[in-house]
């Protein structure tokens, strides 16, 4: 940085006319903090405050009115013995694993399918991006309509090919799978195109050489290509974990937490904003936060190692 500093001080005597702000900006050591200060301000207000406040509230019995009383670890003690909480956590992890596994497998299959030149490829790929940007709430509501047991078009289609109608959102064991389905529908293109970008960037001649050497296309894929995609797979897992931990819209648009589909975020919402139990709600929230942060940090570290290696 030092030589950059001397560089900036050098030029053509323009310094005399500069305002003090401009002078501050010209020095690397001051400008880097000056430019970042608005972000730091916002981070302090929007990250530090809620985290510390939640932490404090989780030790109280605040119920949105009156004064909060300090109750120590009571909320956390309650949480550890609360079957509803552990069920919601288990379900969240189930949805997490189910979505990511399905998205990775299907995504890889489709990426391999698309990894060639074909007629109209730009148009077809462009259309596949649609689910990614559409409002998740709107699409959840639409799927709720389309999967309706009586007048849903999906059941109409099933019956047209001779299959029985399915109660997607009225069967207890199935409802959670319907939520997984909606989430996969929305995010599958993400996996497809990340993996496709990965496949495209792999060196081709190496695989052709391997095939000439007598390795089958499948062996080439599993032995050579798949390991090279590992960093991308970790990116997908990391980002999807972050997004799936905050899955809320598909629940609001469909079961609203009924039929054994209550996930962690929904449960925190219900505790804090329906039952107004802020103390317990923040205790759940802090728990969820640490869980996500630890999980993501581990993956982030892993990713950084792989990117370097």
């Amino acid at each position: 940085m030092a030589d950059a500093d001397t560089l900036t001080r050098g030029p053509s005597g323009a310094g005399d006319r500069q305002s003090s702000l401009s002078r501050l900006l010209n020095k690397d050591s001051t400008s880097k903090w000056l430019l970042i200060s608005p972000l730091l301000l916002f981070l302090a207000a929007f990250m530090l405050y809620p985290t510390l406040y939640s932490l404090y509230m989780s030790f109280t019995d605040y119920i949105m009115r009156g004064a909060p009383n300090f109750v120590g670890l009571d909320n956390y003690r309650y949480l550890l013995d609360d079957p509803v909480f552990w069920e919601a956590l288990g379900r969240t992890l189930f949805v997490l694993v189910a979505c990511i596994v399905i998205e990775l497998c299907l995504g890889l299959a489709i990426a391999l399918l698309l990894n060639r030149d074909f007629w109209g490829q730009d148009l077809i790929k462009g259309l596949c991006f649609v689910p990614l940007l559409i409002s998740p709430l709107a699409m959840s509501l639409m799927w709720n309509y389309m999967l309706h047991i009586q007048f849903g078009v999906v059941n109409d289609m099933l019956q047209a090919i001779g299959l029985p109608a399915v109660g997607w959102f009225s069967t207890t064991g199935l409802a959670i799978w319907s939520i997984v389905f909606i989430s996969v529908w929305q995010w599958l293109p993400f996996s497809i195109f990340v993996l496709l970008a990965g496949l495209r960037s792999l060196p081709r001649d190496q695989f052709e050489a391997a095939q000439v050497d007598g390795l089958s296309a499948w062996r080439v894929f599993f032995l050579l290509q798949l390991p090279m995609l590992a960093p991308l797979i970790i990116i997908i897992v990391l980002l999807r974990t972050m997004w799936l931990m905050r899955l809320f819209d598909p629940l609001y648009g469909t079961t609203r937490g009924g039929l054994n589909t209550e996930l962690l975020d929904w449960m925190i919402y219900r505790t804090a904003f329906v039952d107004f139990d802020i103390g317990l709600g923040t205790a759940y929230a802090m728990f969820a936060l640490y869980l996500t942060l630890i999980g993501c940090l581990l993956m982030y570290k892993r990713l950084m190692r792989m990117m370097k290696g």
Binding site: N26, L127, L133, I134, M139, W185, L239, F273
Partner: protein, 266 residues
Amino acid sequence: MRAVLFWFAIALMLFAFLFPVFWVYLTSLKQPEDIFGAGLIFEPTFYNYRYLVEVRPSLNELLNSMIVSVASTIIVMAVSVPAAYSFARFNTGNGHLLFITISTRMFPGVVAAIPFFIAFRELNLLDTHFGLTMLYVYFNMSFATFLLYGFFREIPTSLENAAMLDGYNRIDVLRKVIFPLIKPGVAITTMFCLIWSWNEFLYAFLFTRRIARTASVGLSTFWGSVEIQWGPMAAFMGIAILPTLVAAWLMQRHIVRGLTFGAVKG
């Protein structure tokens, strides 16, 4: 034979991805009695769209969504562009600050919602455009910074140093050298911020009631205590998702890059 299978798979995939969108618009043209099981054959009507104008005025909600999305995106960009430049050019905070920034994206949404709700109640910011705008700034800020960071990092520092040697000061360098090169990145980031604010539901649902109610929240009101008004809901959906459909088409080449915070170039 392989070609037939290939095109069959492609057709199946397109059908799966696009059918719900098609069904939104189809349903929006159905009369109330056709909603429950008329399938593809029915007499189209603009009844549902008229309903959104005459019975349940909905323009206000779309307007609110627009105000909050645009305002928050402007603030986000004003904060994130200089910050991302600082991260990329000077490695400010040695990577730790960057990770802290990105970690706000890992917060489950409701975690932050509780303290904000209590604070907003004290500050009389519930159900205001300003309050929701601030929440969306928080919601998009870290993402925008990270994405822009990726774009800034691609600009060689030698370019800047050369300009500085030529007697440019920092502001000139930013304006004349950096900005033309970063414009595409800024455009993509802006689009993402706009769309995510437009689509956001949880905060809008918790923090607005009547005055600042956005389109997402408006959408949820068609699910009443007695019945779900599928027809008008589909019509409203059709209008509300239109900008995102257009955006998806315009941005297709950049979506993967945006969603992976610049790590993967699609």
